[in-house]
């Protein structure tokens, strides 16, 4: 078992129930394949530095979890097909830092 961080960028024009559906969907994928979700962060609507697929803004969802290799394959499979996602990124960590949140201030302003 290793520690991972996973971030999703969804499209800008989604409603709040659709957003929570996406958040639930990837949470279930991790738990179904014997993983353990440690923390979920919603960074809210952030603007990009450059346009991504003709979008200027996007919703960010951030997962911190402990899992094995097969969950990563499942996440990758699903997020490539998913039409509401713009981009995704997984990073492996030896130790997870759950305390510092870099995007907390941005949410309060909006």
């Amino acid at each position: 078992m290793n520690f991972y961080e996973h971030t999703l960028i969804t499209k800008q024009d989604l409603s709040t129930p659709e957003l929570s559906n996406i958040e639930k969907k990837y949470k279930d994928i991790i738990t179904k394949t014997d993983g353990k979700v440690i923390k979920v962060e919603k960074w809210g609507l952030l603007s990009f530095a450059k346009k991504i697929k003709a979008y200027n803004k996007g919703f960010y969802i951030h997962y911190k979890f402990e899992a094995e290799n097969k969950t990563l394959d499942e996440i990758k499979k699903n997020s490539i097909i998913d039409n509401s996602l713009l981009r995704h990124l997984t990073v492996k960590y030896k130790k997870l830092d759950t305390e510092t949140e870099y995007f907390k201030e941005n949410e309060k302003k909006k």
Binding site: T7, I9, F48, A49, K50, I52, G58, Y60, R87, L89, V91, D97, T100, Y102, F103
Partner: protein, 90 residues
Amino acid sequence: MKRKNNKFNKRPQNPLNKLSLFQKSDSRFSKKCPLSGKDAPVIDYKNVKLLKRYISDTDKIMPSRITSVSQNKQRKLTSEIKKAKILGFI
């Protein structure tokens, strides 16, 4: 008798003392790496404020000879900046 070495240690400290513009200054400055040592900032792709200090106006990664970041940390910086570019932070 001890020889006095003071004469040889003297170096021009004021840059106006130079004979010509192209003469190199004797005093070499060596800066410490700002990202290593005690209570240094964490290099991470989420720490966008820190990463933005190490890219140019045209979003290029700055060379370590300008920023005086150590070799090990520079390798970390480049990988984290590239991750931040994927997520659209930079």
